[in-house]
Amino acid sequence: MENNKSTKQKKTETLDEVVIHFAGDSGDGMQLTGTQFTTSSAIAGNDLNTFPDFPAEIRAPAGTTYGVSGFQIHFGSRKIHTPGDRSDVLVAMNPAALRVNLKHLRDGGIIIANNQGFTPKNLKLAGYEKNPLEDGSLSNYQVYRVDVSKLTANALEDLNLGSKVVERCKNFFALGLMYWMYDRPVEPTINWIKDKFKSKPELIEANTRALKAGLHYGDITEIFTTRYEVKPAKLEPGTYRNITGNAALALGFITAAKKSELELYLGAYPITPASDVLHELSQYKNFNVKTFQAEDEIAAITAAIGASYGGSLGITATSGPGMALKMEAIGLAVMMELPLVIADIQRGGPSTGLPTKTEQADLFQAIFGRNSEAPVCVLAAATPSDCFNIAYEASRIAIKYMTPVILLSDGYIANGSEPWRIPKAKDLDTIPVKFHTDPENFMPYSRDEKTLARPWAIPGTPGLEHRIGGLEKQDLTGNVNYEPENHQKMVNYRAEKIERIADDIPDVEISGEREGDLLIVGWGSTYGSITSAVERSRAKGKSVSQIHLRHLNPFPKNLGEILYNFKKVLVPELNMGQLSTILRSKYLVPAISYNKVQGLPFKAEELENKIDELLRG
């Protein structure tokens, strides 16, 4: 590997974990820089967790604070659960990037600033009257002013490239410098460049040179005296790749379709932050995947229902506002008892809200959002890679119980990434599907004794011609029926069918003591923050137990028993207290809500403080 082991006069310090935040203009290639650093760190054997911070505007004017694009990576030699509360290093390509992200940099943290980005114009755009690199206002930090643009231009001088092209290579210089500082392998990035610019050899040369120039700069310049080492983490043996939540979701659905031998059909309408599910799945037509970009959210789900009726695994993916539009159709799928998975990648609301920011306030919508008694199964993914498992689990339940399943993810884990231990396809269970074919005494609304699922009888089957729809069904025959007793019976059936799923899901696992003073109950994307907070509290000698719910309707059967064994139950949520309300009403426990709705995830330290407070009080 080409890392520079020959550095002599510089000392090396070993660190357990580091958080780096790359920030610049939307056009500065910070997402690319971040993902390259991620791959390299993964290959170096670290555990890690990342989060991109895109501007809400598509092409915000250059140099503005609202045009800042960032990427945070947290990597370490121990288990990493979150992208990190605060960064240790801020790479700022311009003053706006500094202004926006300085508040997340820890005291004494490192700032690497691109000198050429701090022009009078950019300073003004970012709202600085004086250059913060010069006015002493950053004395709490270690500031390194690096001529990133200039040094990049020098390195590429003889290539005769346009100045715009040269300027676009500067992120590789910054990346090279960070590779030097944290002793990362550069080969993966060089290979990536070669592949990416296959047809443009001059860009291969330019970007590779910029990368190496950054790397060598760290080595020869005198301003850096220390480089850092972060040893490999102890990860479970296996083959890994880095994966975002939305990509994992797509793979989970494909796997479920393959393992059930069904065609996968996605109906979707573009919406942030769910569109990547559509983008991902549309690439995999060779897996018998059909993706339909519908005219609206309602068409997206109703088309998926049509596909399920025809014998496909119908799914749809959306976010809060789209979810609201789909509710009537979910009710139809409840009534027709067809398999359907609805993935809701939550974002800040209400209404259009904060499209690019995260929140978990659609739990009520998922569980209660329809007219009348319309129970559905609700699941939530805990981490980016867990999206794979949860997509598979949602599909399994939908098929086995002939029911819509709502799958909750959110912007934080949808775009965030972490290493995923790649499973072997043959180790994954098949999902048995039996289309009904026997016309003898066929009853569209007869039920499986155990699951209460009705038969899946698809068009094209001789002798099974029958009609279903949104009007109340008569038990067994499925004919339209308005009789009082029948309605009660069918409402009960639909409710019990969902309840019985509890027999088919694992008990929730408890981390820590089985009884005690404090239990933390989480769900969804807060898993990482809660786990970090709990680990830190335990490191201080405190006894805190933790459970994390992936099944939210129905709950795992042992949930009540666990709750009753603790004096205090804390429920941290990125909403105003939705799960805690449900737990209080269902189990009559005085669950304590801890809420935050700022479009941001919890910081582990916020939760740690709350734990301290509760254990004191």
């Binding site: 083959t239 793979l251 109906g267 005219e295 011609e465 029958h466 009609r467 949104g470």
Partner: protein, 344 residues
């Protein structure tokens, strides 16, 4: 799904398409005729019963699937074209029909209708147009005439109506036709023609709601009136009408005019000759605009019939090609895509 050739089957009769459900429309409703003509003509469309699906939305007309002994899905208000689209994409082997009404298709479901048309997805959409909301007991609909007095418009509706045929043409529908509930033969022939078309086929059926809008189309359906008010479109034939077939429609520039063909001034050769396959949709559009012109007869028949690739077959082609060209869905390969690393 095997496409069982109908030839191997016994020839169906209308009875084979009657389900065991009691038909519950108001006595005298035009829907009965649409159902009866459909059941009569379906043995001739050449599709096995098991491969036919009727999808509907909400409204009187949307009860239709319950009465057809085929597969059926009674959906939610306005969404039938979207449900049917998903079904057809997933199952291009099926013959998918939509039964819908003017409120269902043109009000709440307008968006799905125009998008189904522009995609040219292979659906047959039968619009039961009675120009009123029947199931909700008598409010004006998006096809009700301006000024219509109903329960919800006691001072007269100030909505201008849609012209469904013009709307379908504007949305690039490849088969656009109109027929009448009280003209069984014509109704049958149009259903059959729609069944033979590949791509979105739209049929507007003028349907009498004898409870809330009785007689809305009597000028087009009743003896003694219809002769002067209706002109039947026939491919390659001039537009002739009148009790004695003595009147015709002639194009004056882009304006259709009524002329006499029995007084020696004009002959059949001077008339507008209907070409349903014309590349250009201008003529079909001119015909569609005759609908609400009180001076002109209302055209019935096929306005336009053209060929275009269908959404469902294109979608299936992409899947087939991807499966030929790339590995046929190897999960391990998929999981290991991109940069991977091994932890020992």
């Amino acid at each position: 799904m095997a496409d069982t050739a109908v030839k191997e089957q016994k020839k169906y009769t209308a009875k084979d398409f009657q389900s065991d459900q009691d038909v519950r429309w108001c006595p005298g409703c035009g829907d009965y005729s649409i159902l009866a003509q459909t059941q009569r003509v379906f043995p001739d469309i050449g599709v096995n019963k098991k491969d036919i699906v009727w999808v509907s939305g909400i409204g009187c007309s949307s009860r239709f699937p319950y009465y057809m002994d085929t597969y059926g899905l009674h959906g939610i208000h306005g969404r039938a074209p979207a449900i049917a689209s998903g079904l057809k994409m997933a199952r291009p082997d099926l013959s998918v029909w939509v039964a819908t009404g003017d409120g269902d298709l043109l009000s709440i479901g307008g968006n799905h209708f125009i998008h189904a048309c522009r995609r040219n997805i292979d659906l047959k959409i039968v619009l039961f147009n009675n120009q009123i909301y029947g199931l909700t007991k008598g409010q004006y609909s998006p096809t009700s005439e301006f000024g219509k007095i109903t329960k919800s418009s006691p001072h007269g509706s100030v909505d201008h109506p849609f012209n469904p045929v013009a709307l379908a043409l504007g949305a690039e529908c490849t088969f656009v036709a109109r027929t009448l509930d009280r003209d069984p033969k014509h109704l049958q022939s149009i259903i059959k023609a729609a069944g033979e078309h590949t791509g979105t086929a739209f049929i507007e059926v003028y349907q009498n709601c004898n409870v809330f809008n009785d007689g809305a189309f009597f000028h087009l359906t009743e003896k003694g009136q219809k002769e002067d008010n209706v002109v039947a479109l026939e491919h390659g034939k001039p537009l002739v009408f009148g009790a004695n077939q003595d009147k015709g429609v002639r194009l004056d520039g882009f304006t259709p005019k009524i002329v006499s063909i029995d007084n020696g001034e004009y002959s059949k050769d001077d008339l507008f000759v209907h070409d349903e396959n014309a590349d250009n949709d201008v003529l079909a559009y001119i015909l569609s605009r005759m609908t609400y012109d009180p001076e002109l007869p209302t055209p019935i028949g096929v306005f336009r019939k053209t060929q275009k690739t269908t959404y469902d077959s294109e979608m299936q082609n992409q899947v087939n090609k991807a499966r030929e060209k790339r590995s046929d869905g190897d999960l391990d390969e998929l999981f290991n895509k991109g940069e991977t690393w091994v932890v020992e």
